[in-house]
Amino acid sequence: MRITVECYGASQRWCGAELISLDLADAASVAAALDELAGRYPDFASRRETVAVAIGDEIVASARVLADGERIALIPPVSGG
């Protein structure tokens, strides 16, 4: 299956793009998606523990199972205010 990763804030720089398509095994988890990104992008790999993942307007757990066509958003450390 294929999912889309939206890279917010500095994660755009770490991964080199705002949108990334990932081909994953069916029923892969958020963790599996992050593993795939970490394999591709060393700058992401070194910051992975600081990054949360959102789907829609919710932060999701890394065990969350993904569906074909879903979009996940990388939420790196925040700096608003």
Binding site: G9, A52, V78, S79, G80, G81
Partner: protein
Amino acid sequence: MNLSRLRHGALDLAEWLAGPMPGHCGGLAVFAGTVRDVHEGRAVVGIKYHAHPALAERRLAEIEVEGARRFGVQLSVGHAVGELKVGDASVVIVVRAGHRAEAFEACRWAIDTLKQTVPIWKEERYAEGPARFLEGTPIKPVEQT
């Protein structure tokens, strides 16, 4: 008021203060954050604010609800996205409370919480050299602040 809490461009404080003061309230506390002209010794010309819109709107609304619950006050929170220049207001907190103690407490809590819980990122632009995203803090839920 039923405004969107995330706005494009600099915030207009007068707009956020326009609501009437409820008769049972005696204290209004306001905080606004503005773009500074220097950061870590570098001359800053502006900041581009990026947000995850859906989650940011939700978190800003949660701060209003949680602040009202914790402090017994009425709270409004707004944040800018897009390009801001030095002096522009990027964030505003308005608290209407019975008395000043809870007005100040809630206002301080709200800005401290916003900085840890809302998916917004500063990309700072300098007089010299490339823009960069500032280091931040891993996002937390509003209830954990």
